[in-house]
Symmetry: C2
Subunit: 351 residues, 2 copies
């Protein structure tokens, strides 16, 4: 090893879900939305503002911040935007988690949390979910340096009620509590209604799932003006201009079209509820999903083998080779047609 | 102050150049390119791949990485891309500057360097430029934790010869040396030809200046495969998917059109050389620019007053209220028409 390598920050990087791109594949592995974004998005792209391309974007991303503030009935100074919710979460970890005490998050959860903790050298403790994959709120009462959990949780798809979420926040006035709501628009209750009450609560959401814009990388956080100010200070010390001109334009179009948003998320929830019936009849069990995916297991068919068999047929789902969940598959809710093909495969496989 | 605020990372954020947007303004304050990007860029935007919008982009950004590798005659594993060169530099600071010894950079230079150093708690020393605003290579021979400097430097616009750049690299085999070449395409010599020779050299460039894509946020770094691997590991631990689908598509188009790239940068250099004559005749002096801006001062007209008088007429340039340079203005090279309007203003002002 050369001497210069001694000063390198060594990390174990997060492994994103694979992004195969085969014409006939059925891609149910990264929780993308099977429907295109709101029609206004493609429309605004088709008329690019050429002069804007050569100019730096507004560093404050005001058009998007204002659209989000209006949509969620908060003040613009309560909104932070970033390059996907991963960027928002990374900035939030860097901004708020600087205690000597460990931050807390569930042991089975978004696998990026321990990666950020390691990258930023944040002491952390993984808190075990209970035997039903539920977050036990009492486990978050003790001393800590901050708290982060997804609601609904991933990959379990289970949502906590808002009372339980608030209970955790109420017990932790001295640290920042981040509720990561990537999947909240598919049936869970958002903690957004608590941001006026708790100055230390940060709610993070994304355009990648319910707004069909994973390809444009847009995430946001809503919290108290004080919290957002701190977050922006750190962001401006990292990269002044993050959201590019097309992301800003597309994001605004996606937020504006509330009717399309409701139509597509309702359609996905309907497909999901039907999937619960079909898969249940096949003998699968799963936590009761409030997200755009199901976390399924079968007593007779090992998940890993099923995962590989699906791949052979160009059907991609996600498998996590980790303790407690290595007999589960995370299956994104696709279109009805994609789900039928998936059921069809399963029927064949089990025959 | 609430208790949770004690764990907040407190920083003094970088202040980006203002982004006024007035119909008749002449914007010479943020070193943007006055010409639109290559025609292929707007063309590719006009035909958005709607299916790509809802899907995560390729986390490896392979299409763009491959286009850059081909263009610069390096291997794809020697190329790193990010959300503007600020993102690339932030990641590089985080990855490579983890020594107890201070990193070194010029005292008059890109004002983001001390901001990143503070944000990531990196010890740092600002090394004074000489009386002619030149980097003295001998000042970079001592013990240090890493080195970063722009070439050409900003806001001075002065370029170092490649021999001097190599001298600094040769004297520092035990740390990473970053050469920040945001402005290199306007007449300086790139250190890219040294990356095969020095495993610890990272060359950073951007699409924001010579490729007219400030609005799309694309930057890149080229170095040894080992260096790029470390950088990617840290990046993947921060945010897996950074460049969005439109940035990838636009970036490829901009790299491909070498003819347009050469035409526009040549035009800017020509306008710059003419500006040197005109401004020289008016009594301005300036370091001999190899960038797309001039750093000008006048013995009779205080820069700050001139800056404000220009603003009143909707002509925006950049003024830095800092020791040694507070009687200078940084003026971006615009179109010939914009420059004529600028000269016209000056003639009036001096009358």
């Amino acid at each position: 090893m050369s001497t210069w390598e001694e000063n390198v920050r060594k990390v174990t990087p997060y492994t994103p879900g694979e992004q195969p791109n085969r014409p006939q594949m059925i891609k149910l592995n990264t929780n993308e939305n099977p429907y295109p974004p709101a029609p206004g998005v493609a429309k605004v792209l088709r008329h690019p503002d050429e002069d804007a391309l050569r100019r730096y974007p507004d560093p404050a991303a005001s058009v998007l911040v204002n659209a989000l503030a209006e949509n969620y009935h908060v003040k613009p100074e309560q909104v932070f935007v970033g390059v996907g919710s991963d960027d928002v979460l990374a900035m939030a970890f860097m901004t708020f988690f600087n205690s000597e005490k460990p931050i807390l998050f569930p042991d089975i959860s978004y696998s990026f949390y321990p990666v950020w903790a390691e990258e930023f050298r944040i002491p952390h403790t993984r808190v075990a979910l209970d035997e039903n994959f539920c977050i036990r709120k009492e486990d978050y009462y003790g001393e800590n340096g901050g708290i982060v959990f997804p609601n609904p949780n991933a990959p379990t798809a289970l949502a906590m009620g808002l009372d339980d979420v608030e209970d955790i926040i109420r017990h932790n006035p001295d640290v920042v509590v981040i509720v990561d709501e990537a999947y909240v628009d598919f049936g869970a209750e958002s903690a957004l209604k608590l941001v006026e009450k708790y100055e230390n609560l940060l709610v993070v959401q994304t355009f990648s799932k319910s707004r069909s814009l994973a390809g444009m990388r847009i995430g946001f956080a809503i919290g108290s003006p004080k919290l957002i100010k701190y977050l922006n200070d750190v962001k401006y010390s990292f990269n002044s201009y993050t959201l590019n001109q097309t992301s800003l334009a597309c994001g605004v179009e996606a937020v504006k079209d509330q009717a399309y948003f409701n139509e597509t998320r309702t359609r996905i929830m309907k497909t999901r509820e039907h999937a619960k019936e079909v898969l249940g009849e096949m003998g699968f069990s799963f936590p009761d999903s409030k997200a755009n995916f199901l976390f399924i297991t079968h007593p007779d068919y090992p998940a890993k083998e099923l995962f590989q068999a699906l791949r052979q047929k160009d059907i991609y789902v996600r498998y996590f080779d980790q303790p407690r969940i290595n007999n589960y598959l995370r299956v994104t809710i696709g279109t009805d047609e994609q789900m039928e093909a998936f059921y069809e495969f399963l029927r064949d496989y089990m025959r």
